[in-house]
Subunit: 333 residues, 2 copies
């Protein structure tokens, strides 16, 4: 485990100055082809590896992007994080990732750590609570940062927001259920009062208002477990409910599981629609209808957006909503 070779070592073995080596490293056109080849060979010979941190001290752009996620174990966020990371990697950037588990204190800590590590930009799907502790340092550090999927800090000028168009999603879902004859449609899951819950519910509320139908709202955690419990509650307390839209697919999959447990079928007699369209929807039985957020595509576009901000200084619009559509499968057909 010797000292790592530096450009000086490369320069010596190639018989040039270290400036020349540096220019080769940057693919500068100023270096004669012959010299370039010699230098490259020298690098291979002595096993040189580039030290980006040293380079950053003089120039800037560390080639490191921070990605902060409120709930990485949820497949929706996993899919998002993975697609962002891989798109960044394609563009030559490394990703520093942290899961905050919905804890704003953890979030503030990891964001600070990322700033110290010199991330050039940051993408955050934030936890709710104490915005200042995480967004304050970001403002002071002056690094480009986007909030995605959830709008927690109102300063969308400083922290542009992007998310799938949830309201349209739930309107599509509600419209579909009404069109197939459902008359008593519940909305299941989502913590009351939170922005995401409000948004994911708004199209549903609007569609029901148009149809002069009373909503049935059963708020709760966005988990399989809650969905499963709710299946029981529906059977006991809401026999009239003939369809449901869920806050997300996990809840819907839980409902599916709960119905199976109760021996009640999901389909024409009880139509169910999830939200997000994670991969599992197509594999469930019955296959689960869902509002497709195209989260992989969303992740890719976020990667492109943050890099365009970083590299070309093109700040994103304060708010961007991306298209969603409805995928109808057996659970609501």
């Amino acid at each position: 485990m010797n000292r790592r070779p530096t450009i000086i070592d490369v320069a010596h073995t190639a018989g040039v100055s270290k400036s020349t080596v540096s220019l080769v490293l940057q693919n500068s056109g100023l270096v004669k082809e012959e010299t370039r080849v010699q230098v490259k060979q020298a690098m291979l010979d002595i096993g040189y590896v580039y030290n980006r941190n040293a380079a950053n001290m003089r120039s800037s752009n560390a080639g490191l992007i921070g990605l902060v996620i409120n709930d990485l174990r949820n497949p929706f966020f996993t899919e998002f994080a993975t697609s962002v990371q891989m798109a960044l990697s394609d563009r030559g950037y490394a990703t520093v990732l942290a899961n905050t588990d919905e804890d704003p204190a953890v979030q503030a800590q990891v964001v600070t750590a990322m700033i110290e590590h010199g991330v050039s930009a940051l993408v955050i799907s934030p936890a709710y609570g104490d915005e200042e502790a995480t967004f304050g340092p970001l403002i002071r550090a002056g690094i480009p940062a986007m909030q995605v999927l959830r709008k927690v800090d109102a300063r969308t000028g400083d922290f542009p927001f992007a998310a799938p168009d949830y309201p349209t999603g739930s309107r599509l879902a509600a419209g579909h259920l009404l069109a197939t004859g459902a008359r008593r449609i519940a909305f299941i899951g989502g913590v009351a009062g939170r922005a995401v819950a409000r948004e994911r519910m708004s199209g549903y509320l609007a569609a029901l208002a148009d149809a002069r139908i009373e909503p049935v709202i059963i708020p709760g955690r966005a988990s399989r477990e809650f969905g499963r419990e709710t299946a029981r509650i529906l059977a006991q307390n809401h026999p009239d409910v003939d369809a449901a839209i869920c806050f997300n697919d996990l809840v819907a999959l839980g409902v599916l599981s709960g119905f199976a447990e109760l021996g009640r079928p999901v389909g024409p007699s009880f139509r169910l629609v999830g939200f997000d369209d994670i991969e599992e929807c197509a594999q469930a039985y019955p296959a689960l209808s869902s509002v497709r957020c195209n989260i992989a595509g969303f992740g890719k576009s976020i990667a492109a957006t943050i890099l365009s901000w970083l590299e070309d200084g093109r700040a994103p619009a304060p708010e961007t909503l991306t298209d969603v559509d409805l995928v109808i499968r057996a659970s609501s057909a």
Copy 2:
């Protein structure tokens, strides 16, 4: 977006030299309490943030750990990666994460990038193929690196390996199924010839050999989709099979879904056991028995192991197998 303040700025406003500021930063006992307080206050006043990269140039330990995962979308790996990252974060380390999607070329590229970024150590759940392209650079860079969950490079001296004790897991599962009266037990999923598949199958093969029962092996991708297809194949071609152990929980959950689709019950008439015990097992219907690998605990222990190697120079044993046990639920009760 001004220039970020440096220790020189802090020194000026606190009226001390920059060495003193540096000592304060390192919580050195050499600095008088009064001075320390002044310096701290100056930092707050001017919004100083520590530049770890600059610090690393002189000392070492960048406080950055690389984490490379072959399939981050698989909840088993998500759970692992998340628990490693959070444990590292607790110890003050940031995590650079990359998903390789089972592509050894991508893997070689991201590992090189991580080395360039100066990660102090690396944990890798490797993709199969072209070990040299990823492990060669790691050797040359001389940074501590562990392979986990899969042993791809045979040099376990350089790259210590750790994983749950898969053979014992499948032996437990097979023993349980035999004890409940199953006589024709299939092993479903796992790519033929791969080390993980062999290990996860070995206890099953041993238990069946002891009982003088012929194995039924149905290799395939480790996905829900494959599990679902296999349910159909079992019904058509293997009517005698009365139990199955799956390569992982995703396959088992797919089988569950496929059986539901076919209207065949899972339970006493057909016993099913998964592998890994991801969270979803308890929420499925029927609840899925599984070999518990305690992946969250495993992740934590890996974080501790790599840090102890890095900080105290205690290299891990070449091979470590962690305990597994069997969780029996409705699917095999």
